[in-house]
Symmetry: C2
Subunit: 479 residues, 2 copies
């Protein structure tokens, strides 16, 4: 069997850029660090948006829209927050031809501008919980941009909620983490580890950050979404308080959370091969492409094949399958085959004169290259089943890969050796001290991805300093 991952293994970064280009998903723009999301890439984003938006609305979140610009003084109100974001800011200093009295920051995230509104909106316990979501663009200056993973401007959703008690806020944080996990595992077919960030890695201004972490095919970690416990940090500086049912004034408890166009980077890095990207059927803009094969001389074949395609069209529509008929006559069969392979369309259907005679079509799976004849009669159902099968096998394959590349390490020597030779996720005890975390990062580039949720708390020794440790964490190289 042909090795379909030789290029990918050889140079993962180059492979990544090349498959994005080949699939026509996105490109760098003349503005340094910014990307253009091309129609095929944007259709993927719209599919992700639609799924998540429905889940958020079903859990009583409401969409709203807040200003792109944040007055500099707002951003400075929460000390940790401004410290975290200030190296990454784009600053507007001129407007309408005049120098501004106060600089405006292009939002890197919207806590401060949104919470200025929250402090006006929230007065009574009746206004809680306040569950707001925003679909927007944000800007963070990036020195080493990478399409979808890290671009100066990116698209995302940011949720912002306020609650009467810390307990309700904590429930919300986990509810969202679970929605993210479901989105990523069930739709993007990407297995993730849910967990809590270390203090060094948490969101600037949060008490705690929850995360879902995926493993790419080059065995690095990719953070796919985060959900933050903001405690009352922002409530205090923005004075967001409410009267409870007993007439007492209290600060609210807040959460914020987001996923971005980075998810598309995840899909590419987890599923793709040397022939291009591979899209999970549930989020693919085109699930099935139908390629008719006729020679220009045989007008009779063309007519009969077109009639057959009309019948197939009906069956696919009945089954709610997203399909495209590629009857462009200025491209050869080979060119079309190659194009849809690069674009990762899950199923290809080929129909030529031979298939006409046999009352069947050829069905080709993008993920496995498996090719088989399917009779016309069973076509609708069989395509549907095959799409489901591809969806679950993509997930299972990625899960096996993640498990195969997760290593328990018990000593510092073992740690250093494993991260160098094997990479992947390293499960190791850690003492909880930032100093240890820092040295480990300095020596190996590995960072703590998370304390996995649901992990048993058992006493052990820190993999680096040998101090007592009560929980294993996951270390990895990361994007």
């Amino acid at each position: 069997m042909k090795d379909k991952k030789a290029f990918q293994r050889k140079n993962f970064s180059e492979w990544y850029i090349e498959v994005i280009r080949a699939a026509d998903l996105a490109e760098y723009s003349p503005v340094r660090g910014c990307m253009v999301i091309k129609p095929y890439g944007y259709a993927l984003w719209e599919n992700i948006q639609k799924i998540l938006d429905e889940k958020l609305k079903a859990t009583r979140h409401k969409n709203a829209y807040f200003p792109l610009f944040i007055p500099e003084s707002f951003l400075r109100k929460e000390k940790e927050h401004v410290k975290g974001f200030s190296p990454q800011l784009a600053v507007v200093t001129y407007g309408g031809g005049k120098k501004l009295e106060e600089n405006l920051i292009v939002r890197p995230t919207s806590e401060t501008i949104i919470y200025a509104s929250f402090s006006r909106w929230i007065k009574s316990w009746r206004d809680l919980p306040l569950l707001i979501n925003q679909w927007a663009n944000v800007v963070r200056w990036e020195l080493r941009p990478r399409l979808f993973l890290r671009t100066m401007e990116f698209l995302w959703q940011e949720g912002h909620t306020a609650h009467a008690t810390h307990r309700e806020a904590e429930e919300e944080i986990l509810r969202i983490l679970e929605i993210y996990r479901e989105l990523v595992e069930k739709y993007l077919a990407i297995p993730v580890i849910s967990g809590i960030k270390s203090d060094t890695e948490k969101f600037a201004g949060a008490l705690r950050t929850f995360t879902i972490e995926a493993m790419t095919q080059d065995k690095k970690a990719l953070q796919m979404g985060t959900s933050h416990d903001l405690g009352q940090n922002f409530a205090r500086v923005f004075n967001i308080s409410f009267q409870d049912a007993n007439g007492q004034t209290k600060y609210v408890w807040q959460t914020s959370w987001g996923v971005s166009t980075r998810l598309i980077g995840g899909i590419i890095m987890v599923h793709g091969d040397d022939n291009g990207i591979i899209l999970p059927p549930r989020i693919a803009p085109i699930q099935v492409v139908i390629i008719p094969v006729w020679s220009s001389k045989e007008k009779k074949d063309e007519r009969t094949i077109r009639e057959k395609i009309e019948k197939i069209r009906k069956k696919l529509e009945e089954n709610d399958i997203k399909f495209l008929v590629d009857d462009r006559d200025y491209f050869s069969f080979g060119e079309k085959h190659y194009e849809w392979e690069k674009k990762g369309v899950p199923i290809r259907i080929e129909i030529g004169p031979k298939e006409l005679n046999q009352r069947s079509v050829v069905l080709v799976r993008r993920d496995t290259s498996e090719k088989r004849m399917v009779s016309d009669i069973s076509l609708g159902g069989e395509i549907k089943e095959t799409l489901d099968l591809i969806q679950s096998e993509l997930y299972q394959r990625a899960l096996n890969f993640q498990k195969r590349n997760t290593h328990r390490v018990n000593s510092w020597d073992e740690f250093k050796k494993t991260i160098k030779t094997e990479k992947g996720f390293l499960k190791a005890n850690w003492c909880g001290l930032s100093e240890c975390e820092e040295v480990i990062k300095k020596e190996t580039k590995a960072t703590i991805r998370c304390f996995p949720l649901g992990e048993e708390r058992k006493k052990g020794k820190c993999v680096f300093c040998n101090r007592d440790s009560f929980q294993k964490v996951i270390f990895a190289l990361s994007y």
Copy 2:
């Protein structure tokens, strides 16, 4: 009958701000000129987006996303374009802590950044037509902001297309104008005049601008959407060319077009009254609100009413009606009544003990205040019919208003008197000279809204200078 438009007539601007506040649609933000679109206002925008997005996709347009920032040099390439937009720009001069070598403009519109991509994407006749749409935020510095109508940042869609011939581009421009007209008339229930802008009023950089113009209840014109014939102006400066089927290199012909959150301002200004906004059923986030009436003592009533509501719920769901049951127990019936009135929900259903006995409910129309009993049996169908009726009557009422306030004027004296006393749309002959247009604007504040499409070309005399004129135009005061 009570006069429900006294406040509106007395001070339209104050009325406008007040009903927006009362309906909880939007508010000014601490950033001068920017607005916060609150959940109810944003739900309205999402409904508009959904309708338009489907229409654009059905006509083969594809969504994509381009950078927020435009290098200053790009904007300068098309002379008229930069002249038109330069007083309105927000300029980023610092990024990542450093002064930028080239300033970045926050997009006021995206022709220049998008056409830099088009010049890379288009090579052959096979790449045409290229039909791209973008949903995005744009920024134009505004000295006199007004919620929804004119804010520094606003949300919109901007379409950008490239064609092989001018004829195809012209077809596209009119196709889009017709989609806009249908959106505004059939869904927003706002009648419009389709027409062509004068050279003074056209888009900076276009050959011609097509527009749809509505009339607000204070008898001013409100531009609701525009579709531009860009000719080859941008194609030349951005070098967007293609090889035709004969191998010849040619510049493309381009169009651009957009509608924005301004449409929401139109809905308010065309339909609202002193009790609040009035939403056309086809775009209302909530079409029906059900208000149960029970006294806290009568637990038995509450149970029976709740059972009844469950039955109604089913009927409404079967009929695809968007509804909400307002069973908040910390608000009185009066408070609820008042809130949904302000929010313009088309139909209110009230159910109390009396209605229980009569196996009926009370149905109240927001637009006419008409109140009637409807029997439980016929409820689903009758609500659906009433929603359709409200939709068509809102449109018809606005159309009558527009017609009643459209005046033919034949002399300069008549023009001045009419614009001062009656306002509205003034149909008058105009010679076509910008000098005349300018004096008319200076003396009366009226501008040419458009040359209406389909108007007969008949010889006449310019209403101001008495020179020969071949077409009537519409003058009006405008937003």
